[in-house]
Amino acid sequence: MRKHLLFLLLTALCCNGLFAQDCEDDRPYRIAIGPKVGLGMDMGSHSKLENLDFQMGLGYQFGGVFHAHFGRRSELSCGGTGLLGVQIEAMYGGRSVKLDDATLTTNCIEVPMLAQLYFTPNVAMLAGVTAVKIVGTTPSQLHYQGATYGTGVIKGGDVMITAGLAYKTSINESSSLMIDARYNLGMSPLAGNFDTKISSMMLSFAYLFNIVK
């Protein structure tokens, strides 16, 4: 019985939007914007130069999202239900990693630029890059095992590789909810002589208002 209920739920999630809808116009795309918040875990890679091993810390982000969904799933489907979409976000967030009792937090502006492949009408695979600009780091000095790191001057950037899954469901005719889980792979060391790269796993919620449908 439980298996049947689960199957019905998954079928409903995947097939939402698959059926003929009462479309307002015949545009083959749908554009939406909205606020977004996320929580996640951040990881620091092993520093070979400093021989440091970081532990995971908590991260957060909030901001806005621009979402465009192209094409039609079928001839009867409305525009903006096809296979492809793009998503660009402007987020502010904090990422933190830990060294025993010390926590290193980088506050940054993130701009994910993602392509979406909707393999069902509601579930998409995300892939792209996330441009990161660090605007501040705390603490200004990180003390660990006799060493003092002047972390306050870390104000560089990164271009992370991002991949994940998104689920989007309509709430009403003009809005929808999107949930995504993604992994951001850090590519740039925090500093030239501090070779730790920050990666993160985020679970985000976006409330999208259709502005073109």
Binding site: A147, G150, T151, V153, G156, S188
Partner: protein, 343 residues
């Protein structure tokens, strides 16, 4: 879009360096300053131990690539058996470390003062005492180029003597009591100052001239016991071509004294860490200079006559004050004259 993403990834940021400093531990071992000399002295403690008022001062100075002082510490140790262990906060990078040991008295400078520490190019150890200081004048120096990073946060600075040990032996000086009131050993060069080059190595400085102006030892016959060999230790900087002369004050008939010089002068290249023995055979008025650390205890060539010409002009005493004339070769001059006074 893919191309744009690839371009973004490929241009992934090269972020600037941050300051990284760490607590760097240093161990300075001054025992090596006197260690090589111990087999040549009567009692080890005469070198290793200091008198109760004295302490061994270790200055540890850390200079950056530009020769500016970055960090320093000073410790006062009981004697040469103690080590200096300290921790300094240093940023990652390459440094020149200089460690200096000298003996101080009641916490104050005794023979030497250290100045100009703010830059390696101005660092100087300057002699401040004109008196003969024996073992108290020993200066030890250690220098090293070090790297400070995550893998190099502790360093050992090995010290060495910044000069040579001189052992002066006055044998049966009592023999001439009443005739010789005082004895001196002079050299043409003497401890004056040390300066340092870019890699932290020391450079000995002397007010060099050809006169025997620098007194490195003196003694009194009346202090001695009969048939007794008196040992005394001194420290001299490693100078090349240093000449030595033995002089004495001899009582004259007028109740005064005449300053007289032995006809033998010795010349040596004084080398760091070596031990030189000056042996004065007082009854026979003969003396020798040996390098005890050289194979076979090399006698350093007496080259009497080399300075004969300068004696008259620069010794600041008249030719008449000499007892007798040179007998040719390196011999004691006019022992008979002294014996006549003795009778």
């Amino acid at each position: 879009m893919c191309l744009a993403m690839m371009a973004l990834i490929m241009s992934s940021c090269k972020n600037e360096d941050i300051s990284i400093s760490r607590e760097v531990s240093f161990e300075v071992t001054p025992y090596e300053v006197i260690n090589k000399w111990i087999p040549y002295v009567l009692n080890e403690s005469s070198l290793t131990d200091l008198s109760s008022n004295n302490q061994l001062r270790i200055n540890l100075l850390v200079y950056d690539r530009n020769g500016g002082l970055i960090a320093s510490d000073t410790k006062k140790l009981k004697d040469y058996n103690e080590n200096m262990i300290t921790t300094l906060e240093l940023s990652h990078g390459e440094y020149t470390v200089v460690a200096i040991s000298d003996v101080i008295e009641n916490g104050n400078d005794l023979c030497w003062t250290i100045k100009g520490t703010e830059r390696l190019s101005t660092l100087m150890i300057e002699k401040i005492s004109s008196v003969i200081n024996g073992e108290e004048a020993i200066v030890g120096i250690g220098n090293a180029k070090i790297m400070v990073d995550a893998d190099h946060s502790s360093h050992h600075v090995e010290m060495r003597p910044a000069g040579a040990l001189v052992i002066v032996k006055d044998s049966n000086m009592k023999y001439w009591e009443g005739v010789v009131s005082r004895s001196y050993l002079y050299s043409t060069k003497l401890n004056h100052a040390y300066t340092f080059n870019d890699n932290g190595s020391y450079v000995p400085n002397s007010d060099e001239n050809l006169t025997f102006n620098y007194r490195i030892h003196y003694n009194y016959p009346e202090w001695m016991q009969p048939n007794f060999i008196y040992w005394e230790y001194h420290f001299i900087q490693p100078f090349g071509n240093t000449a030595f002369q033995w002089r004495m004050l001899v009582n004259n008939d007028e109740g005064g004294v005449d300053e007289m010089a032995h006809n033998d002068t010795y010349q040596a290249n004084i080398k760091e860490s070596n031990v030189y023995e000056f042996f004065f055979d007082w009854p026979n008025l003969e003396w020798t200079l040996k390098d005890l650390t050289a194979n076979g205890k090399t006698t350093i060539g007496g080259d009497c006559g080399v300075y004969a010409g300068t004696k008259k002009d620069n010794m600041h005493y008249s030719e008449e004050s000499f007892i007798g004339e040179s007998l040719g070769g390196c011999q004691v001059i006019n022992k008979e004259a002294l014996e006549a006074i003795l009778k």
